[in-house]
Subunit: 119 residues, 2 copies
Amino acid sequence: MARSPTTSDVFNAVAELQRRRILELLVDGEKSVNQIAEVLAFRQPQTSKHLNVLKEVGLVTVRSDAQQRLYRLNPEGIKQIYDWSKTFERHWNESLDRLEAYLEELQQQVQRKDNHEQP
Amino acid sequence: MARSPTTSDVFNAVAELQRRRILELLVDGEKSVNQIAEVLAFRQPQTSKHLNVLKEVGLVTVRSDAQQRLYRLNPEGIKQIYDWSKTFERHWNESLDRLEAYLEELQQQVQRKDNHEQP
DNA sequence: GACATATATTCTTATATAGGAATACACTAG
DNA sequence: CTAGTGTATTCCTATATAAGAATATATGTC
């Protein structure tokens, strides 16, 4: 089986850095394809393709103004990612966890050294 | 250019649903490869491969206990995703934005209808 | 209608999976 | 050392990009 399509969900869509950059840019408000392409130094067809992926997963919406297509951020999609990541929040907030992990790391390092020096 | 490797960053690593499921499972604490494989109904080699991807991007750590490899969640990696998505937080909190988007959507639908019925 | 501007689509290519199958490797018990 | 348990690795295949190049489509202007 191959990797899931980029349009299968928001996680796959934002895996691509260039698409995350587009979303970050759209925070300032709606922009045309050429505006996006210019700011991010993309070619126009690539920009259209990325925008189409973002549109398919609902991360942006489009409206037409003459020949232009004005793309706007739809933050609801990003909220899905936020909600998922937030379920792990208490784990990085617990400093005790961090300390445990650190000690564990040290133990492993010592163990590895022992294994190498006395095989 | 092909898609970025799954190991290039946390965003690419968690794009795969099965890897997100592994992370969710590890919230309960460290688990061995076979334990993970059993709970999620994966085959062992697939489990090892997914865990390796998660390890490479720093989303999990491993320690050895006899033949077993005990994988533990490293929440710092998920925090990267949380932090990124959180920068959009105010947008989905602004109900005004939502209203505007909704109106825009309606306008588009009306426009499309007009275009179809009077071409 | 002819031409310009803005955007989308098609085609091609190099690359990277994800899962299955088979096998190799690591460590333990006796 | 031999068998058993747990895990990692290799090989294979079908699939899916992402970017470049070329082209098609849509809309506005004159």
